[in-house]
Structure formats: C-alpha cells, structure tokens
C-alpha cells in the first residue's frame, strides 16, 4: 500500500469513522416537517384530473403542492424539458403528460412520515393511457412522439465524416463487423437521496442535499421557483457517493418549492425528504442502454484503414445530460486510435424508460466496449498480438482524432500500454496467478476440466473537463492570514466531496501553492453562500480545474501578501483552453483540452459448466499526470475496477413497459467483498499534462473504461467464443457456449 507523505488521510475521515459526519438524511432540524414525493407510476399517460381533498384531510397533513404551485414548471441541465411536477394548471406546455413512471406529481408535507404516506395513498388521479415506447428503433420511427416540443424522438444526432470511406474499404485486407449491446447500470451509491429545505437567516431558500455542483443546483432551483439567484442557497453536507448519479436534480427543487410556499403561508419550518432504496433506484437516471453497430477495416500488416459505426443510445424520458454523453460516446467509439477514414452516426433517442444520464465514464465505457472488442477481434483475425496491434494504431502526440484536430500534447498511451503489458507478463505464455476456489459457487468446484483460463487486454482514454464547447471554468478563493508569516490559509471552494477525496486533494494543493504545511490550511467548501462556482465533480475534472484555480488564486494572494495586505484575499477564476462543438456535417471540432490514459489487462477463470467467471488478476496502468494523493488515486482505481467488474458480470437492471422491476439490492446485484477480482494492481504513471496543475490529469473515470472489453477478450481467450453483450450472467455464458459447442 502507498505510504508516502502525500498520501495523507482524508480530511473527512474522522467524522466518517465516528459516525458524526452528517449526511443529508441525518439532519434532524428542530421542528421539521416530513416531505414526500408522489411518483406518477405512469410511463406514458395524460393526467385527466387530480383530487387532493381526501389527502389534505388526513390528520397531520400540512400542505400538498402540485404542478399549479410551481412558478416556472421546468428544469433540466442541458435543456429545461422536464416539469418539476407533472400535472394540471401549469403554463408549461405538455406538463400534464407523464413520460416516466417516476415523474413527480405531488409533494405532500406532513407532521409525520406515516401521515405523509397515508396522504399520498389518498391522492386521486385519473390518467388517460398513451402508447408506451421503450424500444429505441420503435421510437425512431416517430409514429408516437414523446418529445412533443421537437416533433421527433431523436433527441440528438451527431455525425463524423472523415477521409474517403470507399478508399478506406478498398485498402482494407480484412473487415470485422460487430454489434454490441450495452446494459443500463444503476449507480447504487450507498446513500439514498435525501435533503432538507429551510429559509436561512438571510431569507434565502436553502437546500442541504447531496449533489455534484452547488451552483448548478442553485440555478435550477432559482429558475423553477422564479427567484433571483442570490435568494437561493445550496449547501452540501457529507455525500454518500455519486458517480454521476447526483449530477441531475433529485430533491433540490421540490424541497425549495415546499419551503418557499410554506413560508408564503406563514409556516417557517424545515422540510426533510428521505428516499428509500427503491425510490432511489427507480427515481434517478442510469448509465445508458446502448447498441453499437460497427465495421472496421485493416490491412494485413495491421493498419486500420476505415471505421464506420452507428450508435443508438436510449435516453429515456428526459434529456438529462444525454446529448453530452452521446458526444463523448461518439468520440470514444473509435477508441484511442488513428482512424484515417471514418463515417459515424450517433443517436440519442427518447423513450418512456428511465432517463439515461451521467455515470462514471459518461459514454466512454459503451464506446470503449465496441472499439476494444473490434480491436481484439481484428488482432485474432490478423494473427497479430493485440498489444502490438494497438501500438501500431495508437494515438500519439500530433495524431489527428476522427474530428480532424490534433490531440493535446503529452499523449502517453504507448507508455501505459507497455507498462501494463510488462506488469502482467503479456509476452509470456504462462498465466501468472493460479486460481483459487470460486467464492461465488460457494462450496463447489466442479470438475477441473470445466475450468478454463484466459487473458485479455484493452486500453482507453478519457477526457478531462467539459467538452465540445460547453462553458468551462472554476473559481477559487484563497485567504492568507497572519502578521509576519502566514499563520493560516483559508481555501473557499465549491467542489463537492462525494467520497472521491476532492476536499483532501484541494487542501493539499492549496498548501503546496501557498508553500505552507497542510495543517495550516482551513477549508470552507460547497456552500453557495461562501464559495464560488467550481463546476461539477464530473468529467474527471475537479483536481485539474480546482488545482489550476487554486494555483492562480494562491499566486495572486501571495502577491497581495507581499504588498502587505492582511489578510491577503484573492478570488480567481481559471479558464482552460476553449473547446468546440461538433460540426453538424463533418463533426470537425476541438473536442477537449486534456485527457487521461489507461490500459488494463485481465486474467480470469471461467467454469464452462456453470458459467461463473472469476477475475484472478487485473493490472491497471493509469497516466494521472501527477498523483496529488497517491492513496486516494489508488482508491479511485480500485473502486472503478470493481464497479466496472459489476457492470461486466452481474449488474442487470430489468425493465418492462417502462417500469423497473428490480429496485432492490437483493435483486439488482452489485459486487460484494467476495465478488471482487482476486488481485487488483494499480500502476500510477506521471507523464505531466503541460496545462495540468503540477502536471495532474483527471483520473477517476478512466479505469472503468477498458475493463469490460478486457474481460470479454480474456473470456474469448479461455473459450474461443466472443461475447458481444454484457452482463456476462452465468446462465447467458452457458447458453452462448452451448451455441458454439
């Protein structure tokens, strides 16, 4: 384990091991009221009538709010396409239509949980049923329109046209075609959504909640409530995991709405809402289900000549961040390779399923699954080692992407691939780790002839920061206190601490930037009343962006300190190099300003009789530029690998007619301690990013990306069969092996 001086324990660890850290659902404000959100339970229906009188008569019920109570009944991170409350009496067009089983239709505020639940059950709603569309290809026919304002269910289409496809195919000696099916994935953070709303001492509508970007939440609440920004305050207490799943609104707006309307009625009491696990699994977005149809051509000596692909991504009922996820997917579907000729069409499609949205990797895992499988199949067909084939085509400094602009400097893919291959002993015939007993097959090991072993490889890259022209910046405030010397540094920053360790890393960077010991730094974080706009903790961006903003603010503060200002206070904003959106015809653009690079190799054992797979060893090589806190970096790698392991092998969200069928952790399985790979080995490489703070790149998403295709490659190595679909559930493995027997 990493034990150097920069691997300091987390700043929030003491509170978390003593039970004193407060998460949103732990807040017990004096005299609080209980709020409850009623879901529509209608994947597609028009509300005809709603009667809340019986519910209002339930003893203990204080208020019930419906669509008519929402000042501006809309929200959405990239487009305001979702009503805060679906229902009648709202000016927002089509807000009487429920497109998702978990559209919110009422907020009940009561003295007790029981009274709120009883009232919810007494709200009478009549619905006119509409045709439910869940299949992407059915939706694309536009026979039933769900995106009523746009008139089409194609929420977004991107295309890339590079080079001369006819020439590319003509040059190819071999062609590989593949169709890949990617499942939904549930974030399954351990803390279900919860929050508390109140009017603070300055009269602001205040919401304490878990999110990923305080200022975005503030803007969304202010917009829906028709309030000026400064009348809304967002505070993040301890947050029990996020992984992208808290990027969109959960309870922010409804809590704000409830306390604002209660205040107007002369009731100034806090309102608390806590979701159950099933509310959480049903009520927030997922990693997108997707289908990729793709074709790759290459010469006999292993040069890729052309790639065509069609990407279909199920966006579900509302946009959330789907268009951005699609953009990233679209770029990643050709992998980290030089592709001279490319013809790519990608679609985000609206259906009545649960919305798709941000989840660690943000379209990258789906893209990588298609690209890396294609690469591994090409290697097999050409009889070229998969590592060697990658190195022949890999992106390097100066390489042009499919969007026809060069990679940012210091591309280290070759180094991470070689480091990973070396560590696992790729060029040796011998697998390095012997198998142990299957934990999953509790007391079994079936006959030894049924055990097959294999090894697989994959690599990826992941953008750092917002892409494709999205406004990108980060604020930091540094205060230097003392007289002759700097006795105390205060860092005020918006960055959310969702478990990844941002507050610890930021504190360390502030100490380094100012040149004091970390013990002299105090932090004041994640409160819109005191910290600026950090942007979200997503896109592997916070260390990079915050580090640069801290660096800049510290420089400025030190300048003021030198000029005898006491305290010396600097409030600075960092702007990274600009990016550009896809050209609508050709896709030409400057997509990103920074990337991280990763390669993974997997050794596994499969029991071909039971279909159970045990991952014996994962080697994960990551170029992180500079590890600010190596222990936290390793924690991110291990966590990402195990989350990707769940995605590849067991996580299986079930939907039927737009309804999630398995909203429990006993039915939607995530890896437990006995399911994890036997050995996870992290290699941290530090090829500095020329514009990263101290050279740092973002890193917390990228270890997720190559794991599923590396597992599929290892399974192929073991069995001779390619699997084009995950999760690799035991029964599906057995069925597929039988087909090929």
């Amino acid at each position: 384990m990493m034990k150097d001086k920069t691997s300091i324990p987390r700043v929030d660890a003491l509170g978390k091991v003593t039970g004193l850290a407060e998460y949103p659902g732990d807040r017990v404000p004096e005299n609080f009221l209980v709020g409850k959100v009623l879901f529509s339970e209608q994947p597609h229906a028009r509300m005809v009538s709603m009667d809340v009188s019986a519910a209002e008569a339930v003893p203990g019920v204080v208020a019930i709010f419906t669509a008519a109570d929402v000042p501006v009944n809309e929200y959405g991170l990239i487009m305001p396409d979702q009503p805060v409350l679906v229902g009648l009496g709202s000016a927002k067009p089509y807000s009487d239509i429920s497109l998702w089983e978990c559209d919110h239709i009422a907020i009940v505020v009561a003295e007790t949980e029981e009274a709120a639940a009883t009232a919810c059950a007494k709200i009478q709603v009549k619905w006119e049923q509409l045709t439910i569309i869940t299949d992407m290809f059915e939706a694309m026919k536009d026979e039933v329109i769900l995106n009523r304002a746009d008139g089409t269910n194609i929420l977004k289409k991107y295309q890339i046209r590079k080079g001369d496809m006819a020439a590319g195919w003509a040059e190819a000696d071999v062609v590989i075609e593949g169709e890949y099916h990617l499942p939904y994935q549930e974030h399954a953070y351990l803390q279900p959504e919860a929050g508390v709303g109140y009017i603070d001492e300055a009269g602001r509508v205040t919401v304490e909640i878990g999110g990923q970007w305080t200022v975005e939440d503030q803007e969304q609440v202010a917009h829906a409530l028709g309030l000026p920004l400064e009348k809304v305050r967002i505070i993040y207490p301890a947050i029990g995991g996020a992984f992208g799943g808290r990027e969109d609104m959960s309870l922010q707006i409804v809590l704000g709405l409830a306390v604002m309307r209660l205040h107007e009625r002369g009731i100034d009491r806090p309102v608390r809402i806590v979701w159950s696990r099933e509310d959480s699994i049903r009520g927030h977005h997922k990693r997108h289900e997707a289908i990729v149809k793709t074709k790759w051509g290459a010469t006999n000596d292993g040069k890729i000549t052309a790639v065509s692909a069609e990407v279909f991504m199920n966006s579900g009922a509302y946009a959330y961040t789907s268009t951005k996820v699609l953009g990233n997917f679209h770029l990643m579907v050709t992998g980290p390779y030089e592709i001279p000729n490319a013809h790519l069409d990608s679609y985000a499609i609206t259906t009545n399923n649960v919305p798709g949205g941000a989840f660690r990797g943000f379209g990258g895992p789906q893209g990588a699954f298609a690209a890396e499988n294609q690469m591994n199949k090409l290697a097999e067909l050409l009889g070229i080692d998969p590592v060697e084939l990658r190195l022949k085509n890999i992106l390097k400094d100066g390489s042009l992407l499919t969007v026809q602009t060069p990679m940012p400097k210091a591309v280290s893919l070759t180094q991470v691939i070689e480091a990973c291959a070396d560590r696992i002993g790729w060029h040796s015939e011998q697998l390095t780790v012997d198998g142990e007993q299957f934990a999953s097959v509790q007391s079994l090991i079936s006959n030894p002839h049924a055990l097959k072993k294999g090894r697989g490889f994959a690599c990826s890259f992941k953008n750092v920061g917002f892409s494709f022209g999205a406004p990108e910046k980060c604020d930091a405030i540094i205060e230097l206190h003392g007289k002759a010397e700097i006795e105390k540094v205060i860092l005020r920053h918006g960055a959310a601490e969702v478990g990844q360790g941002s507050h610890t890393a930021l504190k360390q960077m502030a100490a380094t930037a100012v040149g004091v010991d970390v013990s002299r730094v105090e932090i004041d974080m994640s409160d819109t009343a005191s910290s600026g706009n950090s942007g979200s903790v997503s896109a592997s961006r916070m260390t990079f962006m915050a580090g640069n903003s801290i660096h800049k603010a510290a420089e400025k503060a030190l300048e003021k300190w030198a000029n005898e200002e006491r305290p010396a206070i600097a409030n600075e904003t960092y702007f990274p190099p600009a990016t550009q959106p896809y050209d609508p015809e050709t896709g030409v653009c400057m997509p990103n300003f920074s990337y991280g690079y990763v390669a993974e190799a997997v050794e596994l054992t499969v029991d071909i009789e039971t279909g159970h797979i045990r991952i014996d060893r994962v080697v994960c090589a990551n170029d992180v530029g500079k590890a600010i806190n190596p222990m936290l970096v390793e924690g991110q790698i291990e966590g990402a690998v195990v989350q990707a392991h769940g995605y590849a092998l067991m996580e299986n969200l079930q939907l039927k007619d737009g309804r999630i069928l398995n909203p429990y952790l006993s039915q939607y399985l995530i890896p437990g301690i006995k399911d994890i790979p036997t050995h996870v080995e992290s290699i941290i490489m530090e090829v500095p990013d020329p514009i990263g703070p101290w050279g740092a790149r973002g890193m917390a998403e990228m270890p997720f990306l190559p794991l599923a295709p590396a597992i599929v490659a290892a399974l192929h190595d073991a069995t001779g069969v390619w699997f084009n679909e995950i999760p690799l559930m035991p029964y599906k493995v057995v069925e597929k092996l039988r087909e090929h027997a």
């Binding site: 879901f39 949980e113 079994l444 437990g672 029964y731």
Partner: protein
C-alpha cells in the same frame, strides 16, 4: 401502486408468557396473527406488503428454544430460536452433523445469520432454503406445540406448496431434532448463486449417503434439491439409482440425469429453466461424487 414508506406497516407486537398462550392467541387470530423468530424474512415481507398481519407474535423466549443439545442416544436438538451463527459455531453440530453447518454457512451474511434461524427458514415454506435440504436428508423431525399440546412432525410431510406448510393455526415449532446418523455417513451441499453475497440459490443440491448392507449398491443415498420446484424436491428416482445398482461414474451420471428430469424450475432473471436443469445435473454429479469418494473409503 408503489408504497413510498420505508418503514414497517403498523401491527401489534405480542409477547405471550407461555407457549400455550401463544398457541391460543395465534389460533384465535387466524389469518391475522403470525409467529416470528429472527424476523429476517417476516419483516421484509411485511414491509413489501406481501404479508399484512395485525399481530406479530414473538415466540423466541420460551424455555429450551434458545439451546442446542446433543445426546449420543437420541441425537441433536436445536431450539427454534437458535440463530444460524450459533449452529455454525456449535461443536456438536460440527462433530456430528457437519452438513448442517456447511449449508448454514451459505445463508446470506454474518449479520443476517445472527438473527436468521433454521426453523424460521423451514416455516417460510420456501423452495430456496439453503438448510432445508440438509434437514430433509438427515431425517429431521420438528417438535411442534399446538393448541392441543405437543406433537412431532417429520419434515417429509411438511412442505405443501410455495409458502405452504403442514402447520395449522396455533402451531408453533419449538425445535428441530436430528437422529443419530448412521456410521460412515457423509454429506455435501452445493449452492449456485449469482454472486457471493448470500444470494438465494439459483440451484442448491444436497447429497447425503451412508453404508447400508441391505442395499444392492451397499449404500443408501438421499438427495434434496432447492429452487427447482414449488417446494423443496426429493428426486426419488435418482436416489433409487444410487441405491439399487453398483455405483460407478456412469451410475452417478444416470442419477444426475434423473435428478435433472425430476425438476420443474421456472425461468427468471437469475437463470433460465434450462440453465437450472443443467446445473442440477452438474451439481448433483459433483455432490454425489464428492460424497461417494468419502463414504466408500470409510
């Protein structure tokens, strides 16, 4: 409609002072009252609305219900309220009935087994119970207290359908007993879950055997299958194959096939019916082979 409340529905907790009082209360409130032990299944089903009893009757506190006792003449008695961790840790169980400990270890997690009981698991009438097979093949008998007093109920007559048992209103199982096992016996429980976190069995196979000079094969074999039929299943044909002819790899294959053919599993998200049947064959072959290798050298 989805029930948004994360808590348990309202009910009255009843803690009778005697078994008789408990049985009478349960009989008088037929359909509205339910006995419970560890509650690990009961509370989940109450919460999900599958059960909606007005009274939950705690039956853990009566004399003898919290103890394990072994007597070399009469065998093992496990009080109904004994939790599974206690069974797993019991020196008597490990010395004389290791199959039971082996099966119990596969149930859920340590903290769940601090509350879960073998008797509670049986009384739920689930076809997926991990310890049920061990109880069946080792010939266990339930000790029951009903309104008319105490009686014994062999497990062979216990399971009537999914969630249905031979118990009548007012019947409270107070213990499970196991006879002294034949000399040279051995058993095995093989469970296939989707993962290692105490998942319900996709398929579970219990095999048990002992030397028996009266049988053509020289051995008596007992088998029980979990999660492959509406109730725990004893594949009698497979047992007969192993008892009636000399045991060879081929006989074991035949028995495994017979076990497979005896099943009527369903398809669900955890595994298709076809997969389950094949797994029954594979696991039966493995479990029987393992047991056979021990008993024949004993």
């Amino acid at each position: 409609m989805h029930e948004p409340s994360p808590g348990l529905p309202e009910f009255d907790y009843v803690k009778p002072r005697s078994l008789l009082e408990a049985s009478q209360f349960l009989a008088q409130h037929e359909g509205k009252a339910r006995p419970f032990l560890g509650g690990t299944d009961t509370f989940v089903r109450m919460r999900d609305g599958a059960w909606s009893d007005s009274y939950l009757v705690d039956v853990k506190q009566f004399e003898g219900m919290g103890e394990i006792s072994f007597d070399p003449d009469n065998g093992l008695r496990i009080g109904a309220a004994v939790n599974m961790n206690k069974v797993i840790a019991s020196p008597e169980v490990n010395a004389h009935y290791p199959l039971l400990a082996e099966a119990a270890r596969t149930v859920a997690s340590y903290q769940l087994r601090s509350r879960a009981t073998i008797v509670g698991n049986l009384c739920n009438g689930s076809p997926a119970g991990d310890t049920t097979g061990a109880c069946i093949v080792m010939g266990s008998v339930l000790e029951v207290n009903g309104v008319n007093g105490r009686f014994h109920l062999p497990l062979t007559h216990f399971f009537k359908g999914p969630g249905k048992t031979a118990l009548n209103p007012g019947d409270i199982v107070t213990a499970i007993t196991f006879p002294i096992l034949p000399v040279g016996s051995n058993g095995r429980y093989l469970k296939l879950g989707r993962n290692a976190l105490g998942d319900l069995a996709i398929v579970g196979v219990t095999a048990f055997a002992y030397p028996d000079a009266n049988q053509p094969s020289g051995f008596t074999f007992r088998l029980a299958l979990a999660s492959v039929a509406p109730t725990p299943l004893v594949p009698v044909e497979a047992e007969a194959i192993l008892t009636n002819q000399p045991i060879t790899p081929d006989t074991i294959d035949q028995a495994a096939n017979a076990a497979m053919n005896a099943c009527t599993p369903i398809s669900d998200t955890r595994g298709s019916a076809r997969y389950r049947k094949q797994m029954v064959r594979n696991l039966t072959r493995q479990a029987v082979t393992d047991v056979w290798n021990v008993v024949r050298s004993a």
